[in-house]
């Protein structure tokens, strides 16, 4: 088979977005625009207590004073915040006790996504909390979890059922005024997931949430709060897809993780929001604030596989406050066509003997731009802090770009900081070399992409790793695989 750079490019371009369909479910949607009334209305609609409404309003006030940040290495037309509808919930209001009650069309959507609940149940024993356009519609395995005292529910439910926990922790890691999008989220978040693992409990299954953006012109503002109490462990999976749409959709989520003494949180994300078509039209704007705080001897580990969104702006971070705490960040970011990603992490070392590891793999194809932006900060009291960072970029073709912006700020001389960075390019030479050894082109690309990403793929839970690997192939290999 003939193979040139030109054809490699073509092949990369031809894969259309597999999940680009639209589920026709009647929704309950608010009028477009944002003002205090809308914020209050959202809060009311969700039957929230007064303190929550006030909390939202504080955030809204702060947001009005803030300006949209411009320092990221991405270019896009700024969303018109008055043209977005801030609330959209599927009409089928009541909660289901079993899957049979769920709208069959909705279930069909899940099947097409490859995440049928039945299959998931059988396969992995994953408890899934599905957020379909902002409102949680089905939760499974709740019982098993309840027996261990684990709370896993939508954040709206948590606000009602467990106000003391929400009140104590919400906004403690990502304050309302943290940044433009976090403030916006705090004001208008529609739903999200809440998870609490009691002292000493090891969560027996992977907790999972799938997000989808469905209704046209709705912004998705989920709020996730995970609290791992002393000595507990939880592994949390988050998967995202969005149907194809012409206008850009905004996604501004906030995720807060709290790992108390000796606790461990593993947070894995596979994100394939609609990236736009090959002309660069449409696609999701993904402006996310994810941050965790580590208390004594605790550990937070972020793993992400990002193949979607037109514009991504995301820095899952760890505040290593407690002595001996550990922060990890493993990331694969794939951009193709006109996608832009500016992603990375911040590791803030405050406690003694804190350690952090950063492994970032960027794959750029087409005309896309992929940037790594990371900060490693060692404060003056953080004796014996250690960091290892590795940022690798893989370029496919001649029109894409990879950029690395590592920032290192060290105020303590006992720190050990290591940084490695590489950039490599896949072109005709590599493909011919593989061909000569009897490996055809499709196989060669799969081999290279998987080889490049394996250090991060290995960090994902098994069932997620398979899906992530598939996603990489979909995003990059065209008809391959």
């Amino acid at each position: 088979m003939a193979y040139t750079e030109e054809e490699l490019k073509k092949e990369l371009e031809t894969k259309e977005y597999e999940y680009g369909f639209y589920t026709d479910i009647e929704s309950d949607t608010f009028p477009v625009g944002l003002n205090e009334e809308i914020v209050i209305a959202i809060s009311k609609k969700k039957e929230e207590p007064e303190w929550m409404t006030q909390w939202r309003l504080e955030a809204f006030k702060a947001w009005k004073q803030m300006e949209e940040p411009e320092w990221a290495n991405v270019k896009y037309k700024k969303p018109d915040f008055q043209a977005i509808s801030y609330y959209s919930a599927p009409n089928s209001k009541p909660k289901y006790n079993s899957l049979d009650e769920v709208d069959p069309e909705l279930l069909d959507t899940f099947k097409r996504l490859g995440i049928s609940l039945d299959e998931q149940k059988k396969l992995a024993g994953v408890a899934v909390d599905i957020v379909m356009d902002s409102v949680s519609v089905a939760t499974t395995f709740k019982k098993t979890l309840a027996e261990k005292g684990i709370i896993f529910c939508s954040i709206s439910e948590a606000i009602k059922e467990h106000p003391e926990l929400v009140k104590k922790y919400i906004g403690t890691v990502v304050p309302q005024k943290d940044n433009f999008y976090a403030a916006l989220n705090s004001a208008v978040f529609s739903d999200g997931s809440f998870c609490y693992i009691p002292k000493g409990v090891r969560c027996p299954m992977e907790l999972s949430t799938y997000f989808r953006i469905n209704q046209a012109g709705t912004g998705q503002f989920e709020r996730t709060l995970v609290i791992a109490d002393e000595g507990s462990y939880v592994s949390y999976l988050e998967g995202c897809t969005a149907p194809s749409r012409d206008e850009n959709q905004l996604h501004a989520a906030v995720v807060e993780l709290i790992a108390l003494d000796d606790a461990e949180i593993k947070y894995s994300t596979v994100q394939n929001w609609f990236p736009g078509d090959k002309e660069g039209k449409g696609g999701v704007f993904n402006f996310v604030t994810k941050r965790g705080i580590c208390h004594k001897n605790s550990k937070i580990s972020w793993t992400q596989v990002e193949t979607g969104s037109a514009v991504t702006w995301k820095y899952p971070s760890c505040i290593l406050k407690g002595d001996n705490s550990i922060g990890e960040f493993y990331s694969i970011a794939v951009t193709n066509n006109y996608q832009q990603a500016d992603t990375g992490t911040k590791m803030i070392h405050l406690g003694k003997n804190t350690r952090s590891t950063i492994i970032s793999k960027g794959i750029s194809a087409g005309k896309s731009q992929n940037s790594y932006r990371g900060l490693v900060q060692v404060n003056s009291r953080a004796e014996n802090a250690r960091n290892f960072s590795q940022c690798d970029s893989l370029l496919m073709g001649n029109e894409c770009g990879a950029h690395t912006f590592p920032y290192i700020e060290v105020k303590n001389k006992t720190a050990q900081i290591e940084h490695e960075a590489t950039t490599s390019k896949i072109g005709e030479d590599q493909i011919f070399y593989c061909n000569q050894r009897g490996i055809d082109t499709e196989k060669a690309i799969a081999l290279i992409v998987n080889g490049f990403s394996k250090e991060v793929l290995n960090k994902l839970p098994m069932e997620f790793a398979v899906e992530a690997q598939k996603l990489l192939e979909i995003s990059l290999e065209g008809s391959v695989g």
């Binding site: 088979m1 003939a2 193979y3 040139t4 690798d392 893989l394 590489t422 490599s424 005709e428 030479d429 590599q430 011919f432 070399y433 593989c434 061909n435 000569q436 050894r437 009897g438 490996i439 055809d440 196989k443 081999l447 290279i448 998987n450 080889g451 490049f452 990403s453 394996k454």
Partner: protein
């Protein structure tokens, strides 16, 4: 085994090979020598099926089968192996994984099952020993950060693993210090048998002290201008390529 007849080939209207005739039989070692730009590497690339070269006339026939329409991987499956002058780096893909894939793809083409992992491991161990390759080396990314000597040793290691019928060594000696040269040559010699053949492409005579050719051909301006036995290589070393250039000009 290999029969090249009146081969004309080039790149974008620029004819580099201008009528090559060469026959290589099983069990033979042929050396192709020549000054820079004479077309040595082009010949290797054309036999291996590199796309950018176009055959304008003549043919390359392997065991009675014309290769013109065969893709590079099909040629590899038929038993052609090219040891690259400048082996390509493939980040993230370990030597072991690469070899596993190459061998199993080759077996698939022949309608065979994947090689059992146990056999693969044993084979890798044996062949690595032959080339004095350290085990650590096998888990490193293919050619990435390898020294010149390591790259060439790795090429011959791959040759040992794939057991080709026809191996073409394109300037395998360039960049090799004398110790590495000995290891590589020793590896090639051990892989030689009455059933396979080797074409050694080189600019210098030194490698031919270790891999002794049955025939030496001199390539100049896209043609084989002189053929002989290994003495010809010594003569070339002494007199230089200008001698050939003058002789052919006459």
């Amino acid at each position: 085994m290999l029969k090249i007849s009146n081969l004309h080939a080039g790149i974008e209207d620029n004819e580099i090979l201008k009528g090559i005739d060469l026959e290589v039989k099983a069990g033979e070692v042929h050396a192709i020598m020549g000054p820079n730009g004479s077309g040595k590497s082009t010949l290797a690339s054309v036999i291996a099926g590199k796309e950018e070269y176009e055959i304008t006339a003549g043919s390359v026939v392997l065991e009675g089968e014309d290769l013109e329409d065969a893709s590079p991987e099909e040629r590899a499956h038929k038993g052609i192996f090219l040891s690259f002058q400048y082996p390509v780096e493939i980040p993230g893909v370990s030597v072991t994984n690469f070899m596993k894939t190459a061998i199993n793809e080759g077996r698939k083409a022949k309608g065979l099952e994947d090689m059992p992992a146990k056999d693969m491991l044993k084979m890798i161990r044996e062949k690595a020993e032959l080339l004095e390759i350290d085990r650590k080396f096998l888990s490193r990314s293919l050619n990435e950060g390898f020294s010149g000597g390591e790259k060439k040793r790795n090429e011959i290691f791959q040759m040992a693993m794939l057991e080709p019928k026809l191996a073409i060594l394109d300037e395998t000696d360039s960049g090799l210090d004398i110790d590495a040269l000995r290891i590589v040559a020793n590896g090639v010699n051990k892989l030689k048998s009455k059933d396979n053949a080797v074409i050694v492409i080189t600019h210098y005579q030194r490698l031919l002290d270790y891999i002794v050719p049955d025939f030496v051909h001199v390539l100049h301006q896209g043609k084989i201008v002189k053929s002989g036995t290994k003495e010809l290589a010594h003569e070339l070393e002494e007199k230089g390529y200008d001698w050939i250039k003058q002789e052919t000009a006459v």
